[in-house]
């Protein structure tokens, strides 16, 4: 550029050009100066271009080369479906199902209005709404934007058909967790959540990915390793839409394993339905093995809301902030005073230490004095002379107060500890509570105070400091059902035919005689004319059990019923805990009766 001067010597042109008439009155020299300036500006801009090209193609080449490779080669994750969670009969509680989602790629949509019309007519929604969603794709015109989720296979097929005429419509197939019966057994099955930063750092070596869902509660959490499969992946060469051009490598995903539970879904559903609208929990356990057939906790929640946080964030917040704590599994994580159910422990201690015999009689006048305080039995007129069996049947407080004061806190604590009070049962669920086993040492450590006699009386009837989870109560009751064994409860039965939990039980040092007397007492509770647990009575099978009413600081008490059936050769221990539900004899015992009846119908109480 810029060599024009040689060819066009200005002065010559002025004299020779016949075109002078068309050159106007502009000074020749000034014109050439302007052309020079113009040429200079153009030269500079072209040098800028060369400089810019050199910068990206030479200086930054390495960086862009890597980016170009990354663009071209993609590892497409092949997500492994999560294993199903099934009940003992193979009915599913949770499983992965295919989910069809409708997306659009904005840049490929020819006509927004006709595409929106087509989509709206199939989805049955408003055209304007769909058009608005499509237009949001303007911001990312080359990547899919979700229009509708989980539209079902029929609609997905329609969309696949019309996508020929309506380019830009895309159906994504993904795997999605479905929980069979919404809120049924939600606290047992648990739920999934997106892996968080710290978990990911801890677990990434085990094949977890950033977007993985991990078990967040219940069985989903405990057995995450089995349920979670191993993701595979495909290394593919892709075009801009991520469409495969060529597969370069393939690693097949390994699906998660199916897990069978000890739960009986029918019984479970029944327990859940009974608790609907209430607060509390229900447990049904095989007293011989510790296999749990039903574990209900109310209020419950819908585990599916956690999977799709984007759409249901409000619902998640609602569950998390609910003052009634639906995420708390009241059967294992809630601890309460066991109330009169604890009298069975006292009775065992009394007989085993020889403080009383089955024939020892205490007179109940309706109250008992200790120092200057009077303790009142629940029956103000008193029960009269009570032996052990009768005291159990009538749940006579005075009898157990006297027994307790004879035993002393150390004996009570020893036997309560033997029955597993104050330590988690070891059930295969997360977040199990220990409960509380009070003792002289415990009190000194905790409050730096001595143990008072009045506290022994409270302790004797399952009040005061002592706290048990319903599952611990269930295990205590099972000791009388199975003839003196403390079992470890469990919920997962097997995976791929391999047992996950072998029944573990510890023989407690309790004589047959002792057990026999207490069992007889428990039988009378339900079956005698004036037993406190009459409402649990069934005509077909003999039910035994114990009611309980645990005083709380509020004016409403917790109701308990723990029992087993059939009396001869028990198959099932059932605990009903009714939070702030009032006296154990009413709702709790009645409910237990219904559940035994249901279990009997389901054939769970033996032939």
């Amino acid at each position: 550029m810029g060599s024009y001067q040689h060819h066009i010597p200005g002065a010559v042109i002025v004299h020779t050009s016949p075109g002078l008439a068309r050159t106007g009155r502009i000074n020749r020299g000034s014109v050439f100066m302007r052309i020079k300036i113009y040429a200079f500006l153009l030269a500079v801009s072209f040098l800028l271009l060369i400089g810019g090209l050199g910068y990206i193609q030479i200086t930054k080449h390495a960086k862009f080369k890597v980016m170009s490779e990354e663009n071209r080669l993609k590892v497409v994750p092949l997500m492994a479906p999560r294993g199903a969670i099934l009940d003992r009969k193979g009915e599913y509680l949770a499983k992965d199902v295919l989910s069809f989602d409708l997306s659009i790629i904005y840049s490929q949509v020819k006509n927004i209005n006709s595409t929106a019309r087509a989509i709206a007519s199939i989805l049955g929604t408003s055209e304007e709404e769909v058009a608005v969603r499509i237009k949001q794709g303007r911001w990312r015109p080359y990547s899919p934007v979700m229009i509708a989720e989980d539209i079902g296979i029929e609609k997905a097929i329609y969309f696949e058909e019309i996508s020929v005429d309506q380019p830009g419509i895309l159906i994504d197939v993904s795997s999605k967790r479905k929980y069979a019966n919404s809120e049924v057994a939600a606290n047992v099955v648990g739920y999934l959540g997106l892996i968080n930063r710290s978990e990911f750092d801890r677990l990434k070596h085990y094949g977890y990915r950033v977007n993985d869902l991990v078990g967040r509660g219940g069985i989903e959490k405990t057995y995450d390793d089995y349920l979670r499969g191993t993701h595979g992946g495909k290394q593919v060469e892709v075009d801009h839409r991520g469409r495969e051009i060529m597969v370069l490598g393939l690693k097949e995903p390994v699906p998660g394993k199916d897990l069978y539970l000890t739960i009986d879904l029918e019984l479970q559903k029944y327990c859940d339905s009974i608790l609907e609208g209430k607060r509390g929990s229900i447990l049904a356990m095989d007293p011989e093995t510790g296999a749990i057939l039903a574990m209900a906790s109310a209020p419950s929640f819908d585990p599916e809301i956690f999977i799709d946080a984007r759409r249901k964030r409000a619902e998640v917040a609602e569950v998390l902030n609910d003052a009634e704590y639906p995420l708390l599994n009241r059967a294992i994580s809630g601890v309460y005073p066991p109330g009169s159910v604890f009298k069975t422990v006292l009775a065992t201690a009394g007989l085993e230490t020889g403080v009383v015999t089955a024939h020892t009689v205490f007179n109940c006048t309706g109250s008992m004095r200790l120092g200057r305080r009077a303790f009142h039995c629940w029956r103000e007129s008193g029960h009269g002379d009570q032996n052990l069996e009768e005291a159990i049947k009538n749940s006579c407080n005075v009898y157990f107060w006297r027994l307790g004061s004879h035993l002393g806190v150390d004996n009570i604590a020893e036997y309560a500890g033997m029955f597993g009070v104050g330590r988690a049962t070891g059930v295969d669920l997360p977040a199990e509570a220990d409960g509380l086993l009070p003792s002289r040492e415990w009190k000194r450590k905790k409050y730096d105070e001595p143990w008072y006699k009045g506290e022994t009386l409270n302790y004797s009837v399952g009040q005061g400091y002592v706290l048990c989870s319903p599952l611990q109560v269930c295990r205590i009751m099972s000791v009388f059902a199975n003839g003196g064994y403390l079992v470890r409860p469990y919920i997962a039965e097997s995976v791929e035919g391999v047992s996950l939990n072998k029944p573990e039980r510890t023989r407690l040092d309790i004589s047959e005689d002792t057990l026999e007397h207490i069992r007889e007492g428990l039988r009378k509770v339900v079956n005698d004319r004036r037993g406190t647990g009459m409402k649990a009575r069934l005509s077909e099978v003999v039910v035994a059990g114990k009611t309980g009413t645990a005083q709380t600081s509020r004016n409403k008490n917790h109701g308990w019923f723990a029992g087993f059936a059939p009396f001869d050769g028990p198959k099932l221990t059932i605990v009903v805990f009714d939070e702030y539900g009032g006296k154990g004899g009413y709702f709790a015992a009645g409910t237990a009766g219904k559940i035994f009846k249901k279990a009997e119908e389901l054939g769970l109480l033996g032939p």
Binding site: S3, A21, I35, S107, R140, E237
Partner: protein, 395 residues
């Protein structure tokens, strides 16, 4: 108009016919039309343009080549070849017509072109959200492309007629008023890039025709000051593009996508490129609009820095010859016309390549002679025709 009064000295017939034969145009030799000619056709310019056009076709082939379906010559390549052939015919005709004859029709051409744009505004079929094309059966014409040339012609006519007032405010204001309707109509399509290209054309032509520099400088300052107001007139997607230019990572899959993909394509080309038809960025279709506005990215990816510099160098040759022709123009009409077309070509080359390497925001301006597109190719070749016509009639 004064044009017809002028007679240029005759050139010996034999010499002229010899040159015509040397061009290969044996059939056409209309003597009457050619008798005013005395200068030389600028062969360097012509061959540089032909080289660029060849590269263009080679890369339209590459950009539309699909490695999956492996279909060879695509219809777009054939279409482009037809347009190129038509354009070259126009080059020949215009070269051999005195540019003054064409300038005489400038106002008529301008009015017709304005009418075409008005027609588009109401009846144009929408494509990519803009009304730019008039469909004529298998072909479609983009009047705004021709409007760039028409505006240059009408400004040349206007400034030439008022050459006695060169440097006056009247010429300055009159030029702006004259092209204002064209700019507005193109802006409304909307076609921001094409509307904007009229601005440097106008300023360059005024500058070369001796306009008072203070008018030009102060209007540029005024223009920059009014940018915030201009922002309000922009369509959302145009705003996106400008925002993304400032930071493409705002939205890597959306509006910033093209810039990023284009930079990856060009940058990964390195010194010598991945080889023709081997550009992964373009063939796997990461790069949108790769046969039109972003074709330079394909050149940069497949031929690397060497090829990119070769292409830029060929444009530099065209521009340098253009400046030579401006300087050698026989009269103010020719000088204005040449300055306009050189600016048009240079500006489009600069803006187009700058945007592919992220030096400028993405505005829809094609790369002359290389980008696929009939109207643009023909309009660019008309520019070449003007330059050759002017060069032949140099003083």
């Amino acid at each position: 108009m004064a044009a017809r009064e002028v007679t240029l000295p005759r050139e010996p017939q034999e010499k002229y016919l010899k040159r015509l034969k040397s061009w290969g145009f044996w059939a056409l030799k209309g003597e009457g039309m050619l008798k005013e000619v005395r200068g030389q056709v600028d062969h360097v310019l012509l061959f540089a343009v032909l080289a660029i056009i060849t590269i263009g076709i080679v890369f339209i082939y590459s950009a539309t080549w699909d490695p999956v379906s492996s279909v060879g010559l695509r219809t777009l390549v054939i279409k482009q070849m037809i347009w190129v052939a038509g354009g070259l015919l126009l080059v020949f005709l215009i070269t051999n017509i005195d540019y003054m004859r064409l300038v005489n029709y400038a106002y008529l051409a301008y009015v017709i072109n304005l009418l075409a744009l008005v027609f588009l505004l109401f009846f144009g079929g929408e494509r990519y959200g803009a009304r730019r094309w008039i469909d004529l059966g298998p072909l479609s014409i983009q009047p705004s492309e021709f409007m760039k040339v028409t505006v240059i012609m009408v400004l040349a006519a206007f400034l030439g007629e008022r050459r006695e007032n060169a440097g006056s405010f009247g010429n300055f204001a009159g030029s702006i008023v004259l092209i204002f309707p064209a700019a507005v109509l193109i802006f409304l399509q909307p076609d921001l890039g094409t509307a904007f290209v009229l601005v440097p054309i106008l300023f360059t032509m005024l500058f070369i025709c001796g306009e008072n520099v203070k008018y030009i400088v102060s209007s540029i300052i005024l223009g920059l000051a009014s940018l915030p107001f201009f922002w309000l007139l922009l369509k959302d997607y145009q705003k996106d593009r400008l925002m993304v230019f400032i930071n493409p990572d705002i939205d890597p899959l959306g509006a910033g996508y093209t810039i990023i993909q284009s930079k990856i394509a060009i940058g990964s080309g390195g010194l010598f490129g991945k080889g023709w038809l081997n550009g992964t960025q373009s063939h796997l279709k990461f790069l949108p609009e790769r046969h039109t506005d972003f074709i330079f990215s394909v050149v940069g990816e497949e031929w690397g820095f060497a090829g990119a510099v070769l292409l830029v160098g060929l444009y530099a040759v065209v521009i340098a010859r253009g400046i030579r022709i401006i300087a050698g123009s026989a009269d103010i009409y020719a000088r204005a016309l040449a300055a306009g077309v050189v600016t048009l070509l240079a500006f489009q080359v600069f803006v187009n390549i700058s945007m592919t390497i992220g030096m400028m925001p993405v505005v829809g301006l094609p790369l002359p002679f290389v980008s696929y597109g009939g109207s643009n190719t023909v309009a660019s070749l008309i520019c070449v025709g003007f330059l050759l016509s002017i060069s032949r009639r140099a003083s």
